[in-house]
Symmetry: C2
């Protein structure tokens, strides 16, 4: 992370600006510095203390304004709550050079693409939307690591306006972080992520809320064990970030919740009628699917 | 775990029999051997290979039948799917000596107490029901450890018929394992455990089932990340064990699911109306409660 590029290299290597130097943006910067795939790294953030920390940690070389980032950077990564995409892009637009590529790490893509079109206008070809499927319970620059993306999947949802060169430049950067890049439509991305990321977070939060507001919450929480710990871990996540994600991907999330409700109806009916065979089949199907996924995902 | 009691001690120390020598029963045996709180440890199990493994691992001294266990043991621990409680106790009853105490580690207590009353009749005073709040993803004798219960909570739901001495003997054994013992009514235990253990498992399995049976399940599972991993980890658990738990604690679970549905209705309505402030408040309440619990539970 502390390594500097060789003097001879810095002419060709791009200047990277990261807007939002937390876990996601900081790890992107750290991985690219380590891979010597960027020359300077600029950071943009509202919190002075955490920008100072990002400099101390060697994640970025300097803290700059959005305007400075737009003039100086060859690549700009937005690692922000998705609700901030439009206003940040509007601030970046006036200073953008023709060759600068902007990409993002937002958890939803349809709304980000809309925001980008609204903000960038005829410069929309310079925006290549993306989403790394990686994260951790920790946040902030101190949680950033060079290997967060190693072996992980990054989804790009390129626009028709993006040049082949723009797509390739973003792909190469992610590959330099050790990630595998796959491409899909923004709509497909949002439906799939609603299913495997947003709905679990919604349900985990609903459940945690219900337990925490029960009249005997203290007793419940005293007897909560490791299953509870795992099931509710995501409910501890940032309320701001997840509110933005839920609002940005509302339709797909509501549609997936409705599918989960159907499955819940069926399972609950089996319990109500004490149908042990049906309960077992349902639990077994879920258990086998989870074990198979666990054995292949590299995540457990 | 390999340590033998001193020759002079074995006269006073009880003989322990563990019925079901997996993670729960095996760890109980291992912790008590390490604490030198038992002399001999007998194991009962249907699977010869895993009993042999339990002997090799030093968890038990010998594999015996239920009948032998009932004659020889001073303390009998049932570490079984709760649905097996009655038949196992019926097999133990004829050989039981007056001073033998039976306890269990079942995840539900009302149904276990009913099964025990039906099976033991006038020997019900010898059964002290219990439930250690501990577990892990792993199962089987090879997963047993001496410290599984260290710092964990064990709930006892003693019966009016239990003597003070019987309660104390069970309490002391759990304390020798490093656990903290608390006492409550079986009904309270079952409602609280329905909330913080059974319902999360039910919801996690329902969700996993829904994802696994979706038409594009492969794509969904390819993009599933660490949030999905944590939320669904418990869905990989034993279908037999959890079917038994769900059936045994059906009323409390159905009642808690109905409470979770109410919370889901409210949160979903906030999403449907794009009420960002309400969504934020709800997410924040859940996040703060989960973070507070995480900082105090010792589980994360």
């Amino acid at each position: 992370m502390q390594e500097q590029p060789q003097p001879g290299q810095s002419v060709q290597l791009p200047v990277l600006a990261v807007v939002g130097v937390g876990l996601i943006g900081g790890s992107f910067a750290a991985a690219l510095r380590r891979a010597r795939a960027v020359s300077r790294v600029l950071g943009v953030g509202r919190n002075r203390q955490s920008m100072q920390q990002a400099i101390s940690l060697g994640l970025i070389d300097a803290a700059v304004s959005l305007e400075q980032a737009s003039w100086e950077a060859d690549i700009i990564m937005l690692a922000l709550p998705v609700g901030m995409t439009q206003s940040v892009l509007e601030a970046l637009r006036p200073g953008l050079r023709d060759n600068t590529i902007i990409t993002d790490a937002g958890s939803t893509k349809v709304s980000v693409v809309e925001a980008a079109r609204a903000a960038l206008g005829d410069r929309i070809s310079q925006f290549v939307p993306g989403h790394p499927i990686a994260g951790a319970e920790k946040s902030g620059p101190e949680a950033a690591t060079t290997d967060l993306y190693h072996g992980r999947t990054v989804v790009l949802t390129p626009l028709d306006e993006n040049s082949v060169d723009a797509r390739l430049r973003v792909t190469r950067l992610w590959e330099a972080c050790g990630a595998r890049v796959i491409v899909m439509e923004p709509e497909t991305h949002d439906i799939v992520l609603a299913s495997v990321s947003h709905v679990p977070h919604f349900l985990s939060s609903v459940f945690m809320w219900q337990v925490a507001t029960a009249h005997n919450a203290d007793l419940r929480l005293e007897l909560a064990g490791s299953g509870f710990r795992d099931f509710t871990r995501i409910a501890a996540g940032s309320p701001e970030m997840w509110r933005d994600i839920f609002l940005a991907n509302r339709d797909a999330i509501l549609s997936e919740i409705s599918e989960v409700r159907k499955a819940l109806d069926t399972a609950e009916q089996a319990l109500l009628t004490a149908d042990g065979a049906q309960l077992h089949d349902f639990l077994e199907r879920a258990a086998l699917a989870r074990r198979f996924w666990g054995s292949r995902s590299g995540l457990k």
